[in-house]
Symmetry: D2
Subunit: 134 residues, 4 copies
Amino acid sequence: MTVVSEMLRTHPTGVGDTDETILKNCILACLECLYSCTACADACLVEPSVADLRGCIRTNLDCADVCDATVRVLSRHTGSEGDLVRRMLEACRDICRACADACERHAEMHLHCEVCALTCRRCQAACTELIATL
Amino acid sequence: MTVVSEMLRTHPTGVGDTDETILKNCILACLECLYSCTACADACLVEPSVADLRGCIRTNLDCADVCDATVRVLSRHTGSEGDLVRRMLEACRDICRACADACERHAEMHLHCEVCALTCRRCQAACTELIATL
Amino acid sequence: MTVVSEMLRTHPTGVGDTDETILKNCILACLECLYSCTACADACLVEPSVADLRGCIRTNLDCADVCDATVRVLSRHTGSEGDLVRRMLEACRDICRACADACERHAEMHLHCEVCALTCRRCQAACTELIATL
Amino acid sequence: MTVVSEMLRTHPTGVGDTDETILKNCILACLECLYSCTACADACLVEPSVADLRGCIRTNLDCADVCDATVRVLSRHTGSEGDLVRRMLEACRDICRACADACERHAEMHLHCEVCALTCRRCQAACTELIATL
């Protein structure tokens, strides 16, 4: 998905003081996590043990919604609004951590939770790395 | 829109320690603000003075996206994930304040900015009130 | 939620040939349905009979996402892109009908499904009415 | 972004009769287009010629929202609701075509529009290909 680098490079104002590689990684991680959590919620829903996976499904749905808003905010570079980027990244990092924790509890039984836990950890790390540069 | 009260009242686990009226007001304010900011961005875009409204449009778009994620998180009551609700509400309160500030600057010239500024202030206040109860 | 009327009335280009009351009703119905379906999915998830409600939850989630996109498209009046509005309204009408059908099957046992079914029927009707004017 | 293949492969019910490669390509194309259109709207907004780019910005915003809903619907495989998938794919294909057309008109002057036009064409093609298999 080279489109993220290409859009960052062709934005008329550039990305300001933000590190382009770290920003790109965070955008990609949020997109990946938006998909992965939506798909994992659906996969959990058809498992015979769905009653044990309620917490995981709920956290998946929250995580998808927060990643969605975060990637949209990160895609705009025309002047930051105070601490909005930081606040969204903190919310995103925290829900990704919670979702990774929830998925890891079922990772041995459900391969989709194993995959989703890794995606959430990557997104948690990418948010943490981007926050550190702000 | 009585559906919010009805859904809150019929949720099997209830809304826990959260004040139902304050939560309802915040959900309604976020829905209203999601719409208002999307519509205001579009209205600004067709104004002859669009070049002066870039900051307002950008903030409108961010505000719509954050309100969207916030209302989705607030609609789920099946166990909170740490501080997620608080973090989202803080992000939502801050972007609503920034968007109200941006719209107020054009409120005398553009009626849609005047309407949108009021909606953003209501949502900022509703988030602040809900945060205080957490 | 008078903000919808106020934004429609203050939009610089107006809403073209669209009937303002019918458009307003459809925007309100989509916002209501976005909330109602997100909340109903969460409520179904904590029911003891969650395993019987999988189809309902899945349809709820699809319906919330389609209503979300529809309300955003309907909030922009700056020139229509071919048949996009019609196509989105048809998708929205169909998923609202499917979701109302799914919720009605459980309406006697689960009050939240009864409330959500009514919301989906209103949104289905509002989309149908708006399509008829295009 | 190998996570799409991995989630499709580990979903408990599989993806039914759908061709896994074609579905994967469409999910990736929608994610890419959601990002690209959000970023292109923001880039257009800061161009000196923003007044000439209003139509492009509006179409970008619609396209991002429709791609977002489409990728969420495509991420769920637990039983299709009538023609919802087809209807969403048709809406997505049409708005991607309109957005590619709009961006191409400015592609020589604005590199971000050139990049975004290509992303929209890929998504249009991916939707068309998936529709053909339904």
